[in-house]
């Protein structure tokens, strides 16, 4: 890590997802000093946990790899992982940010060889597969993790196992004496890019998530389809491990609902349309996707994608918000009940698996930002009234990757303007 001192000409970017990475890179490539703080052990955020991206259906590796290359090449950028921003004091052009850095127990010597993981037996729930499986307590978050450095879970740091992990490391990379650190940084502007989290599906009581094994969320479905996911890429039913060929996708699971999230999460229609293609990829003509929807919001050019899926004979559309789900006790098949709007027919339809197209809610709402910011009624953040803190990506509004990147570039430019002015006054 470079020893350059942060000043009020520096920009702090909070959150290392695609938006934070983009904002940090744009500013750094313009010659600004940037500190990128990410709470988890790796950059990449939630995009790294998708199997493929719409609309081009490429794997997230491609987009992330380019950004990682740019990051590595840039000397104006300082990256802090496991670093949470806990306080921001001051005003536009003159902030002091306090960061709490959690111990990784692994230093720069790590080559990601994996010997420590082999030496450890304990497991913890795997957040990179949304808790669908467990991982070793010494782990590399995922294949695209940056930095490519292992992490020791605090649960084993002070134990016999921690010692075993250290003994297994041939590079002296494991440091069990690491402690939590608190550092203060002076910065002129802040880009807030903390992203989103999936809405808690268990709160949508009539859909039975958590009660019925074969009702899962869209983020979990991404992991099922991914070869690096818990099933090795096989789309199987959680209840019995049998192939899930007849899959229902329920739109607006949480979104556009005054009882849950009042906003439209904007990407879920596209995510489900995309996921029907995972099913086709897995089962060919035997795949049976049904999308239950209020109206399909495939915005702008995404309409093309929608039309292509409409022509796919394995995909059926039912214009109806499902009212409730029951479970067939014998087969464990979820049975969807509702009334369709094209004819007002009551249906009770059985599927192998139900995927709830879960909404995105802000990971951090304005109330949790350690500074005064303006937020909307869903908790998406606009920024500080004086313009010194700007929001980017899904922290600002529910957006797809493409639009999140545009938003991040715009935020970066505004942050540059702030520190530019700070620099001008300094030198005047």
């Amino acid at each position: 890590m470079t020893a350059r001192v942060a000043t009020n000409e520096s920009i702090l970017v909070v959150g290392g997802g695609i938006s934070g990475m983009t904002a940090a890179l744009e500013a750094a490539e313009c010659g600004r000093q940037v500190i990128l703080a990410e709470k988890t052990p790796t950059l990449g955020g939630r995009t790294a946990l998708l199997y493929r991206y719409f609309p081009k259906m490429c794997h997230p590796v491609c987009g992330l790899e380019i950004n990682l290359r740019r990051l590595k090449a840039n000397r104006n950028l300082r990256i802090l992982t496991m670093a949470e921003v806990v306080r921001i004091e001051g005003a536009r052009g003159d902030y002091t940010a306090t960061l709490r850095i959690a111990p990784r127990y692994v230093n720069e010597n790590c080559t990601a060889c994996g010997a420590c993981a082999e030496a450890v037996a304990s497991t913890i729930p795997n957040p990179y597969n949304y808790g669908l499986d467990r991982m070793k307590a010494a782990y590399l978050p995922h294949a695209m993790a940056y930095p490519q450095r292992y992490v020791l879970d605090p649960s084993i740091a002070g134990t016999e196992e921690g010692q075993q992990a250290r003994a297994a490391c041939r590079y002296g990379a494991i440091d069990l004496d690491m402690k939590e650190e608190t550092i203060a940084l002076k910065v002129g502007a802040v880009v807030w890019a903390t992203g989103w989290k999936p809405y808690d599906a268990a709160k949508i009581q009539p859909y039975g998530y958590g009660r019925y094994a074969n009702v899962i969320t869209s983020v979990e479905f991404e992991r099922l389809a991914d070869p690096r996911g818990p099933t090795g890429g096989a789309i199987l039913r959680p209840s019995d491990g049998k192939p899930a060929k007849n899959v229902a996708f329920i739109q607006c699971a949480g979104s556009r609902d005054e009882n849950h999230l009042r906003h439209c999460s904007r990407i879920c229609c596209m995510a489900s349309l995309k996921q029907t293609q995972y099913l086709r990829e897995a089962y060919g003509e035997d795949a049976r996707s049904t999308i239950y929807y209020i109206d399909i919001r495939a915005i702008d050019r995404f309409e093309d994608f929608y039309q292509k899926v409409q022509h796919d004979a394995t995909v059926r559309f039912v214009k109806s918000k499902v009212a409730r789900i029951a479970e067939d006790e014998k087969t464990r098949n979820p049975i969807l009940h509702g009334v369709d709007t094209e004819g007002y027919h009551h249906y009770a339809t059985s599927h192998d698996l139900v995927v709830l197209a879960i909404g995105m809610e802000p990971e951090v709402t304005g109330a949790q930002v350690p500074a005064e910011v303006i937020e909307d009624s869903s908790g998406f953040i606009e920024g500080a009234a004086d313009g010194g803190i700007v929001a980017a990506g899904v922290a600002a509004a529910p957006l797809d990757v493409n639009r999140a990147v545009q938003s991040a570039t715009a935020a970066s430019l505004r942050a540059i303007a702030v520190v530019h002015r700070a620099a001008a006054t300094e030198n005047a």
Binding site: P206, C252, R256, D257, E258, N259, H260, I294, D295, S320, K321, V322, A323, R324, H337, G338, V339, D340, T341, Y344, H346
Partner: protein, 204 residues
């Protein structure tokens, strides 16, 4: 009830509902998701679910909506209100529509819930107190003497039980209890009716 007033609205039924039906202004907020229809315990056993009624209102199906018996079937379980993603007060709208159709004389004739509602109202208003005995008997005999006697005999056991438990007082049949100022109550109701008529433009 005169037909002139509604005439004015005939080609604009949604606006008529918005202006004259209790909570009617919410109807246009329905996004036709179908959750109310799918959540209603009546399921497929009535002709027009709230979702359908709201669509019919927008489509200007005035006679079909106001003549529908569906609003009268609502049991006020409030499932639809609880589930509606747009928080429409669906139960209240259904009752508002029923009331509106009733005032215009367009509600279905002989619909049992409507008959009961009418009986109950008249019964309550008469003396300012519900006279349960008269209400029950009124209900028994609404379809004629023979049917009434038959029902009364069938319910004899329950009636006796309630009498023994002091839940029914046979003396209520003669006059029955009343509030102190019945005249005052009638004046209040007449005034309320007058205000409502004025506000909503009823000419009766």
């Amino acid at each position: 009830m005169s037909a002139q007033v509604p005439e004015r609205y005939r080609n604009d039924f949604l606006r008529e509902v918005e202006e004259r039906v209790e909570e009617g202004r919410w109807v246009k907020m329905c996004m036709q998701c179908g959750v109310c229809a799918g959540s209603c315990p009546f399921g497929p056993h009535w002709e027009h679910s709230p979702q359908k009624i709201f669509m019919m209102i927008r489509a200007g199906k005035r006679a079909e909506v106001l003549g529908s018996d569906s609003m009268w079937m609502c049991t006020s379980c409030y499932n639809c209100i609880v589930r509606c993603p747009r928080k429409l007060p669906i139960t209240h709208i259904m009752h508002g529509l029923a009331n509106y159709a009733h005032r215009l004389g367009l509600a279905p004739k002989g619909q049992p819930t409507r008959e009961f509602a009418r009986l109950f109202w008249d019964n309550c208003i008469k003396q300012g107190r519900a006279n349960e005995l008269k209400l029950t008997l009124g209900l028994y005999f609404k379809d004629g003497l023979a049917a009434g006697i038959k029902t009364a005999l069938a319910m004899k056991g329950i009636g006796l039980g309630m009498f023994k438990a002091k839940r029914i007082n046979p003396m209520e049949l003669f006059g029955g209890h009343r509030i102190k100022d019945v005249k005052g109550l009638h004046a209040i109701i007449a005034k309320a009716r007058e205000i409502e008529d004025r506000r909503k433009g009823y000419t009766s």
